[in-house]
């Protein structure tokens, strides 16, 4: 059963909150500057990636990073809600638990996409040209990727007892996922073990799709990218619903 009003209320609350947290937006400005200006410029001379500028190469990766961090953060906020009581208000309401999970997944995707847009604003500064159609495509992709990532985050959050585990999660899930997504280096010519790890990572397909739209290069076909990311997102929501429905 889908309860649209309940989904909307869960979503609306997170959106209002994210607009009130100014520091989060500062972070989303600082992150691309750090990665593009310092990492990008620093690694640029050492990079030989088939005639493409390294700054351009990591640009889709930096967007992906923004998405993964924001999405995880949003998902983790459900633990915060549990600890500080608001989740209870929703749990005793006459709404299906799935509405809470779907609402959360959508709000996480929305905030992550908004942060992604901020990163996207850096495109002209590093010389990436984008047509209006490309922007629309990137927006859709960002939302899809964020949805998958938030849902994954919700699955993790629902298994976490407290905030103590957050550092562990970010070290063992978020960082590896980012490094193994092909966001920072090209996959061609890598040893097989590393390559297979990258192929297993669903985020790689998201990054690949984004790179294809923005720069016109990528290693997998678009349909495969979209299919993998979408299926992953739906599967994660499917797992998160029963996880979040448990008592206590």
């Amino acid at each position: 059963m889908i309860d649209l009003a309940a989904i909307y209320s869960v979503w609306l609350r997170d959106i209002i909150r994210s607009f009130r947290e100014k520091s989060r937006f500062l972070g989303s400005l600082a992150r691309p500057i750090l990665w593009l200006v310092i990492m990008g410029t620093g690694l640029r001379p050492a990079f030989q990636g088939g005639g493409v500028d390294y700054l351009h190469f990591i640009f889709p990766g930096v967007i992906a990073m923004t998405l993964i961090f924001t999405a995880t953060q949003s998902a983790i906020s459900i633990i915060w809600d549990r600890e500080f009581g608001f989740l209870k208000e929703m749990l005793v309401a006459p709404i299906p638990r799935s509405s809470i999970v779907i609402g959360k997944a959508l709000s996480g995707s929305t905030t992550a996409t908004m942060q992604g847009i901020i990163t996207l604003l850096f495109a002209p500064f590093i010389g990436v040209k984008m047509s209006p159609l490309m922007i629309v495509e990137v927006l859709g992709l960002m939302f899809l990727i964020s949805f998958a990532l938030t849902s994954l985050g919700l699955v993790i959050a629902s298994r976490m007892k407290s905030f103590e585990g957050f550092g562990t999660i970010s070290n063992f899930v978020v960082m590896p996922m980012y490094f193994l997504s092909g966001a920072i280096f090209p996959t061609a010519g890598l040893p097989l073990w590393l390559k297979s790890l990258i192929f297993m990572n669903r985020l790689s397909y998201g990054v690949n799709a984004m790179r294809k739209v923005i720069l016109g290069l990528g290693s997998f076909p678009m349909a495969l990218d979209l299919g993998f990311v979408a299926c992953f997102g739906v599967a994660m929501v499917g797992v998160a619903v029963p996880f979040c429905s448990r008592e206590g």
């Binding site: 909307y8 209320s9 909150r17 500080f84 209870k88 208000e89 929703m90 005793v92 006459p94």
Partner: protein, 306 residues
Amino acid sequence: MDDVSFTVKRGETFGFLGPNGAGKTTTIKMLCTLLKPTFGMAVVDGHNAITEPTAVRKSIGIIFQDPSLDNNLTATENLYLHCLIYHVPAKEQRKRMEQVLELVGLAEVKSQVVSTYSGGMKRRLEIARGLLHYPRLLFLDEPTLGLDPQSRSHIWDYIGRLKAEHGITVFMTTHYMEEAENCDRIAIIDHGRIIALDTPASLKREVRNDTIVLTTTDDGRAGEEIKIKYGLDARRGDSCLEVEVADGESFLPELSRGLQTQIKTISLRKPTLDDVFLKLTGREIRKEEASGRDRLRDQARRRRRI
């Protein structure tokens, strides 16, 4: 919880009274469908709490022991979200929000972020929110815990008005004896069992006599006098005498007339629910909160009674 069974009448204020850890919150959780009982059943407003949780949830409002507001939102925003979740018709939302804010006296600060509220204001907002969907039954889990006396009496005013004006059934838990007296009926609960269930007045009547407390110019002599004249044992308290009698109102004037020793002060103390709990369990309900001195005095009192 161990084999608890009770019925709450429509429109009454029903109190669950017991020390921390007695099982009050667990009972509320089961009635609110947050927890499934391992055995037995609960019927709330005609709906089975186990098989029809959604129907139960629609007809109840809950104010939890721990705050469950979003501190980063304003009062209005918190209420609006609740309207959405409970499917309050769009046309009614504004009217109802104003109504409940008015009831708890927060209309003027409704646009402030909740984190700027005091503890009492937050609790009042939660009560307001719990009423938005016009529940027929309101659950309050320790509604005045951690509040100052003024806020506590405010909250009791609101609960009284709810009952008087809207006929809402109130189910509440508390470990404050004074507060339980506001209920129509009380279940005293200890170690997961109901050990007494009645109106506060009859609970008190059953349990203990009135106490007359007096100070005299010579307590020792007055005590002997009472013993000889009325056949009653007068206890020596902290610089006063305490006499237990069945009917304090008529004994007090008689004692003040009949006593040779000069009386300095004399007063009548009616039994409290504290006495009831003490009598039923042999323990003070708020033992963990009492100061060392109080504890000593309580122990002394208990020994005397046995």
